[in-house]
C-alpha cells in the first residue's frame, strides 16, 4: 500500500494504492484519523489505484466515517474499481458513505456544488 496526500483548495485528498489489508490497515487508519485530528473538514479518499481491500481495511473507513460525522467534517470516496466498489456495496457502505465515480465529482461534492450525504 502507498498513500499520497495532496491539498486541492480546502480539500485534503488521500490517494491509496495496491492492497489495503491486515498488514497495511493500521498505517492507513493513523493517516486518515490524523487528518481529522488536525482539523481537515473536507476529505476525499481517491481509491483509483486501490486493487484490494479486506474487512480490516473496510473497518478503517467505518471508523473514520463515524469520527468525521462526530466532528462535523465531510468524507467522500471516489474512483473505486468495479471489484472494490462491489465489496463496499456488499456491506452496505454505499448507504452510509458518499461514494462517487470520479475525482472530479469528489471535489465538486465536497465543495458543496452537489448535495452530499
Amino acid at each position: 500500500m502507498q498513500i499520497q496526500e495532496e491539498k486541492i483548495g480546502d480539500v485534503l485528498v488521500l490517494t491509496i494504492s495496491e492492497h489495503l489489508d491486515s498488514s497495511t490497515c493500521n498505517a492507513f487508519e493513523n493517516r486518515l484519523l490524523g487528518t481529522i485530528d488536525r482539523g481537515e473538514k473536507k476529505i476525499l479518499v481517491n481509491c483509483g489505484p486501490l486493487e484490494y481491500v479486506n474487512s480490516a481495511g473496510l473497518k478503517v473507513f467505518l471508523i473514520a466515517a463515524k469520527q468525521i460525522e462526530t466532528v462535523g467534517a465531510k468524507l467522500v470516496l471516489c474512483a473505486l474499481s468495479p471489484s472494490v466498489l462491489m465489496i463496499f456495496e456488499m456491506i452496505g457502505f454505499n448507504r452510509i458513505m458518499k461514494i462517487v465515480p470520479t475525482h472530479e465529482e469528489g471535489l465538486r461534492a465536497l465543495n458543496g456544488e452537489v448535495a452530499t450525504a
Binding site: 492492497h19 489489508d21 491486515s22 498488514s23 484490494y52 479486506n54 474487512s55 480490516a56 473496510l58 473497518k59 467505518l62 471508523i63 466515517a65 463515524k66 460525522e69 468495479p82 471489484s83 462491489m86 465489496i87 456488499m90 456491506i91 452496505g92 448507504r95 452510509i96 458513505m97
Partner: protein, 146 residues
C-alpha cells in the same frame, strides 16, 4: 475460443501457514499468482482471495488460545469451471455459518465494526459448507467461474 482455452487447464495449490497474521500477505500473494496462472477473471479471483483472507485471518485471530506453533491449511482448486477453497484448522470448534449477518441497514452511528468478514465470505461465494472432522474445522467454499 478464449473461454474454451480457459477451461483447458485445472489445478490445485495447498499451503500450510503458521498461525500468524503476518502470513496472510504470503497467502494472498500465492492465491493471486495461482489465479493468474489459471487465468481466473479478475472478480472471481478477488472473491476467492478475499474469502480465504477473511477465513484464515479469523482462525489466526480467534481460533487458538495460543497460536504459537499452530498452522492453518489452505487448498485452492480450479476445475470444472469452478474455483474451490478449503480451510482446515485444529482450533476451537467454530461454525461461521451460525453467525448472523450484520445490520446493513443501520445508520452510520449504529453500524458495528465487527462481523464484516464472515458476511463478505458468504456473500462472495456461491456455496459455503462447514464441518468438524477429526477435531478440526473444515470450511469449504466455491464459486462458478464466469
Amino acid at each position: 475460443m478464449l473461454k474454451q482455452e480457459g477451461a483447458m487447464h485445472e489445478g490445485t495449490i495447498t499451503v500450510r501457514l503458521p498461525a500468524d497474521v503476518k502470513e496472510i500477505e504470503r497467502l494472498n500473494r500465492l492465491v493471486r499468482q495461482f489465479g493468474e496462472l489459471h487465468e481466473l477473471p479478475l472478480r472471481t479471483l478477488y472473491g476467492m482471495n478475499l474469502a480465504l483472507d477473511e477465513a484464515v485471518t479469523n482462525v489466526i485471530l480467534y481460533g487458538f488460545d495460543n497460536p504459537a506453533g499452530q498452522e492453518v491449511k489452505v487448498c485452492v482448486e480450479v476445475a470444472d469451471s469452478e474455483v474451490r477453497g478449503e480451510v482446515t484448522d485444529a482450533g476451537r470448534e467454530f461454525n461461521p455459518l451460525t453467525v448472523p449477518p450484520p445490520n446493513l441497514a443501520a445508520p452510520l452511528e449504529e453500524r458495528e465494526l465487527g462481523g464484516l468478514g464472515i458476511h463478505l465470505l458468504r456473500s462472495l461465494m456461491d456455496k459455503v459448507t462447514y464441518r468438524r472432522e477429526n477435531a478440526k474445522n473444515v470450511l469449504t467454499m466455491s464459486k462458478r467461474i464466469r
